[in-house]
C-alpha cells in the first residue's frame, strides 16, 4: 500500500497520511503524483481526469494538494459563471488576496495573462502551480477561446503552471473545431462492490461493533447496488436507515449475530426507501420522522409526486380530459368513440394497430382547438355554452402547463395544443367526475 506512494521530493510522513486518507484510490493518487513529479519539476501543461460521479476525483486532488501544501487554485466552473470570477479566484489563490485588484473591469484573457506574468515575475516560486477546474464540462459553454487557452496556459504565461480538468464527460466531447493542445488523459475507474463495502464500512457507529455495521452495509448494497453506484448517495442512504436496522437490537428481540432476522426486518424497509428517499419523493427529514413515529406505515406520507393532484373547476376537468383524448387517440377513431349514430365502421379496419403506433409510447400528438371542443361537448352531459369563461379556462390550463401550445404562428385562428399530463393524473381526474376514460382510449381497447 505504501509502496505505491513513494515519491522523492515529498515528505514521507505526509505521503503516508495521504495513503490513509484515500482508501482504494492509492493507484490513482500514485499515478497522479508521478505525473506531477517533484514540486520543482516541470509538469505537463494540462491533465484531464475523467470518471463517474463520486469516484473521488476532486477528493484525491484536494487531499494531495492540501497535504503536500502545493500552490494550487481550486476552481469550480459552476461557480465561476463568468471569466472574471475565474480569473479573480486564480490570481487570489496564487498571489494573495489583493492580487485580483489589478484586473481591470471586464477583463479579457489577454489582461489575465499579462497580469499573471507580471505577478509571477514578481513572486516566482520554484514549485509547480496547479489550477484545478471542477466540472470542466461547463467550460465548453463558455467563451470559445477559454478552453484552448487554458490548455496551453503554461506556454502563454511562461510559468510552471499545470491546469487539471475534472469531468464526468469523456474528452472526445470537449475537443474544439480547430483542435487544441491535447492534455494527458487520466481515468478514475469506478469503485467495485468490494471497495464500496470497504469505504462505507469505515464510518461505523461507535455503539456497535464493526462487523455489525459491515453486515448492514452488505445488506444495503444487496438492495441498492444494481441501481446506484454513487458512493455519496449510498452513504446518505446508509446513514438514514441505520437506526431502523438497530431497532430490533435495542428492543432486545435479536442478538447482533442473528443476521438473518435483521435482514428480514430491514429488507422491505430498504425497498421502500428506494421508491421514496432515493427519488427524493420524501425528504430525508420526513423519512427520519416517519421512522420515529412508526405507528404510521412507511410510505403513508404522501410523496412529492402524489401532490401533483390539483383542484380544478368542473369544466376544466372535462376540458383536460378532452385534450387528453384528442392527444392520445387518432383522429380517425373519433367518430366511433364520440358519435352516437356513427354508421358502420369495419372492426378489422378499426382495430388495425401495431406496437410502434401506440401513442402511449410515442407521446402526445398535437390537435387543433376545434377537435378538442368537439370532444368536450360530446363527453360533457349537460349543455354548455361556449362562453368566454370556457376559452379562458383553456388558456389558463396552458399557463398551468397542463396543456402546451405547439405552433406559435397563429394565436387566435387555429391554435394547436398538446396535452402534457400523465396517464395516472388524468385517470385520477376522470375518477372525480365519474368518467371512465380508459373506455375511450384507443390504446387500451
Amino acid at each position: 500500500m505504501t509502496g505505491l506512494l513513494q515519491h522523492p521530493g515529498y515528505d514521507e510522513e505526509k505521503l503516508q497520511r495521504i495513503a490513509e486518507l484515500l482508501p482504494c484510490r492509492e493507484v490513482q493518487a500514485g499515478l497522479l503524483l508521478s505525473l506531477m513529479g517533484q514540486p520543482e519539476h516541470h509538469c505537463y501543461p494540462s491533465i484531464f481526469i475523467y470518471g463517474h460521479q463520486a469516484s473521488g476525483k476532486s477528493h484525491v486532488l484536494n487531499i494531495v494538494m492540501k497535504q503536500l501544501e502545493l500552490p494550487h487554485a481550486m476552481v469550480s466552473c459552476v461557480e465561476c459563471f463568468s471569466v472574471t470570477l475565474l480569473f479573480e479566484q486564480v490570481l487570489q489563490s496564487f498571489f494573495g488576496a489583493d492580487a485580483s485588484s489589478l484586473l481591470p473591469r471586464g477583463p479579457s484573457l489577454s489582461d489575465f495573462v499579462r497580469i499573471y506574468r507580471q505577478l509571477s515575475s514578481e513572486s516566482p516560486t520554484k514549485q509547480t502551480r496547479y489550477i484545478i477546474m471542477e466540472k470542466a464540462e461547463m467550460l465548453r459553454d463558455a467563451d470559445a477561446n477559454l478552453l484552448p487557452a487554458l490548455l496551453r496556459l503554461q506556454e502563454l504565461v511562461e510559468d510552471n503552471v499545470t491546469v487539471i480538468l475534472l469531468s464526468e464527460i469523456v474528452w472526445d466531447k470537449f475537443r474544439p473545431n480547430t483542435g487544441c493542445f491535447e492534455p494527458l488523459l487520466l481515468h478514475f475507474p469506478d469503485y467495485s462492490k468490494g471497495e464500496l463495502q470497504q469505504i462505507l464500512s469505515k464510518d461505523k457507529h461507535p455503539l456497535y461493533s464493526a462487523e455489525f455495521y459491515s453486515s448492514y452495509i452488505n445488506i444495503l448494497l444487496g438492495v441498492f447496488y444494481s441501481v446506484c453506484r454513487d458512493l455519496r448517495e449510498l452513504r446518505h442512504l446508509a446513514a438514514l436507515n441505520f437506526s431502523k436496522f438497530c431497532e430490533p437490537l435495542e428492543e432486545g428481540k435479536v442478538k447482533e449475530s442473528d443476521t438473518h432476522k435483521l435482514w428480514r426486518n430491514i429488507e422491505p424497509h430498504l425497498k421502500k426507501a428506494m421508491q421514496t428517499v432515493y427519488l427524493r419523493e420524501v425528504s430525508s427529514l420526513q423519512w427520519e420522522q416517519m421512522q420515529e413515529l412508526e405507528e404510521r406505515e412507511v410510505g403513508a406520507v404522501r410523496g412529492l409526486s402524489a401532490h401533483t393532484h390539483v383542484e380544478l373547476p368542473y369544466y376544466s376537468k372535462f376540458l383536460l380530459i378532452a385534450a387528453y383524448l384528442a392527444s392520445y387517440n387518432p383522429a380517425r377513431t373519433d367518430k366511433r368513440f364520440f358519435l352516437k349514430h356513427h354508421g358502420k365502421i369495419r372492426k378489422a379496419n378499426f382495430l388495425k394497430k401495431n406496437e410502434k403506433t401506440s401513442n402511449h409510447l410515442l407521446g402526445p400528438k398535437p390537435f387543433p382547438l376545434d377537435r378538442m371542443l368537439a370532444i368536450f361537448y360530446s363527453v360533457v352531459d349537460s349543455r354548455v355554452a361556449p362562453t368566454a369563461s370556457i376559452f379562458s379556462q383553456i388558456s389558463s390550463l396552458v399557463t398551468l402547463q397542463l396543456l402546451n401550445q405547439v405552433s406559435h404562428d397563429d394565436q387566435l385562428d387555429a391554435p394547436k395544443y398538446k396535452c402534457a399530463v400523465s396517464m395516472d393524473f388524468i385517470c385520477a381526474i376522470a375518477r372525480t367526475v365519474n368518467f371512465d376514460i380508459v373506455k375511450y382510449l384507443y390504446d387500451f381497447l
Binding site: 505525473l35 509538469c43 402534457a420
Partner: protein
C-alpha cells in the same frame, strides 16, 4: 545542485533520477528548443533569410506558416528568431510584437497589446486616446513616419492567425498588411496557423495585400525518423553530472528502441498520428514511471502506457454503470437495431426492457418507472444519449426523443468487460431482435 569538478564523480542514484526527470520533463513539457531543428532545414533557411532581410535591409515582408497541430510551427519560428537575434545589430534594432489569436480576441485588445509591447503606452498615455480609431491612427502615424533606412524594423508574430480573421472587418490584418506593402516603416508579419484554407477566409482587399508567401510544415517523417526521435528525446547529454549513470541510461534507451515489442507499439502510434506531441505525451507517461528503484524504462512500461493511451474512454465509462443503466443501454441498442436508428424515448426503452423481464421468470430487475427515469437521466448527464431537440421544457421527460451515442461493438465490448454481468442479460444483448 552543486557542480562537481571531477569527471568521475558518483552521484547517488536518487539525485541522478531527480536530475534526469528534471531534464527530460523540461524537454517534453516545455517543448524546449532543440539545437538544430529536424527535417525543416529548407523552411528554416527560407524564413531566416526573409526575417533577416527585414531586420537588416528594411524590407517589409509577410509570410504564413501553415502546418498541423503539434507540427513544430512555433518551434521553427522560435529557433529562427534565436538564430536571428544572435546577430548583435539585429538584436539591438529589431522590435518584436507577439500576438495570440486566443488572447487578443478583438482588435481593440490587440491594439492595446501592440502599444504595450512597443513601449508606446507612456506616449499614448499623455494624449489620452479614448477611441479605438484614434489609437489606431496614432500607431499608423508612428509607423508611417518611419522609412526604410532610418526607423527600426518591427516583427509581428500572429499566433493562431485564423482567429484574427474573425475580427470585425479584419481591420488589424488589413492595416498590418497595408503597412507591409507600402513604403513605410519596415515590418515583417508572420502568421502561424493550422488551417490550410486560411487564405480563403481573408477578405479580398486583405488578401491582395498579403504577399502569398506560405511555408508549409507538413510532416514527412518516416517511421525510422520517428524511432530516432524517441531516442533523441530520451537521450541524456554529455553534460549530465554523473557520467556513468548517463551512459547506462543511454544504453537502456538504445536497447529500448531496438526492442521488437516497443517497435510494434511505436508503429501503432505512428500509424494513428505522425505528430510529435502525442509521442511526447506517451513518453511523458513512461517517464513518470521511472523511479529510484527502477531507474530505466522497460518495454513493459511502454506497453502499459500505450494501453492507457489507447483506452477507449467511453468503454471506461460504460464499465462504471449500474446494472439497470446497462440494461437500458441494451434496450436502446435493440431499438436501434429494430427501427434502424430512429430516435426513441424513455417509454419505448422501458417497454423494451419490460418485454425482456416478462420473458424471464424472476423479477429481480422489476423497478418502478421513476427509478428507471433516474437511471435514464444519469445516462443523459453522461452524454451517452443525446436529446434530439433542445426544447426539453416543452415536452414531458418520458416522451423526449433521444439518440444513442454508442456503437454496437462498443456496447458488446463493454458487456464482456463488465464485472459480474448476469448471464441472462448477456444473452439478451446477444439475441438479434430483443
Amino acid at each position: 545542485m552543486s557542480k562537481r569538478k571531477t569527471k568521475q564523480t558518483h552521484v547517488p542514484v536518487g539525485e541522478c533520477v531527480a536530475q534526469l526527470q528534471k531534464m527530460l520533463r523540461e524537454r517534453l513539457c516545455r517543448e524546449e528548443l532543440p539545437e538544430t531543428p529536424e527535417g525543416v532545414a529548407a523552411q528554416h533557411k527560407h524564413l531566416l533569410e526573409l526575417l533577416r532581410r527585414t531586420a537588416l535591409h528594411g524590407e517589409s515582408n509577410s509570410v504564413l506558416i501553415v502546418g498541423p497541430r503539434g507540427g513544430g510551427k512555433t518551434m521553427l519560428f522560435k529557433s529562427v528568431l534565436k538564430e536571428l537575434l544572435e546577430d548583435k545589430d539585429v538584436d539591438k534594432t529589431l522590435m518584436q510584437v507577439h500576438l495570440n489569436g486566443l488572447l487578443q480576441t478583438d482588435d481593440k485588445i490587440a491594439l492595446k497589446e501592440i502599444t504595450r509591447q512597443l513601449h508606446l503606452e507612456n506616449v499614448v498615455g499623455d494624449k489620452v486616446f479614448g477611441s479605438f480609431a484614434e489609437n489606431l491612427a496614432f500607431l499608423l502615424e508612428a509607423l508611417k513616419k518611419g522609412d526604410r533606412s532610418s526607423s527600426r524594423p518591427v516583427l509581428f508574430l500572429l499566433d493562431e492567425f485564423d482567429l484574427f480573421v474573425h475580427h470585425k472587418n479584419q481591420t488589424l490584418l488589413y492595416n498590418l498588411f497595408d503597412v507591409s506593402q507600402s513604403a513605410q516603416a519596415p515590418i515583417a508579419v508572420v502568421g502561424l496557423t493550422c488551417r490550410l484554407d486560411v487564405l480563403e477566409l481573408l477578405e479580398k482587399r486583405v488578401k491582395s495585400r498579403f504577399s502569398h508567401r506560405q511555408i508549409h510544415l507538413l510532416s514527412g517523417a518516416t517511421f525510422p525518423d520517428y524511432v530516432q526521435r524517441v531516442q533523441r528525446q530520451l537521450w541524456l547529454p554529455a553534460t549530465f553530472p554523473d557520467q556513468r549513470f548517463a551512459e547506462e541510461w543511454n544504453n537502456s534507451v538504445k536497447a529500448l528502441c531496438e526492442d521488437k515489442s516497443v517497435e510494434d507499439i511505436l508503429r501503432r502510434h505512428f500509424n494513428s498520428s505522425k505528430d510529435f506531441r502525442s509521442l511526447h505525451a506517451l513518453l511523458m507517461f513512461s517517464l513518470s514511471r521511472v523511479s529510484v528503484s527502477k531507474p530505466c524504462i522497460k518495454p513493459a512500461d511502454i506497453l502499459e502506457t500505450s494501453r492507457m493511451y489507447f483506452a477507449d474512454a467511453k468503454a471506461n465509462m460504460l464499465h462504471g454503470l449500474s446494472i439497470l443503466e446497462l440494461c437500458l443501454i441494451i434496450a436502446m441498442k435493440h431499438l436501434n437495431d429494430l427501427y434502424d436508428g430512429e430516435p426513441f424515448n424513455l417509454q419505448m426503452v422501458h417497454n423494451e426492457f419490460k418485454k425482456f423481464l416478462q420473458r424471464k421468470s424472476s423479477s429481480m430487475y422489476n423497478f418502478e418507472q421513476p427509478v428507471v427515469m433516474k437511471a435514464f437521466e444519469h445516462l443523459q448527464q453522461l452524454e451517452l444519449i443525446r436529446p434530439l431537440d433542445s426544447s426539453g421544457a416543452r415536452t414531458q421527460r418520458e416522451f423526449q426523443l433521444v439518440k444513442l451515442l454508442l456503437d454496437n461493438t462498443q456496447i458488446m465490448e463493454a458487456l464482456q468487460r463488465y464485472p459480474q454481468c448476469p448471464t441472462d442479460i448477456k444473452q439478451w444483448a446477444l439475441s438479434a431482435f430483443g
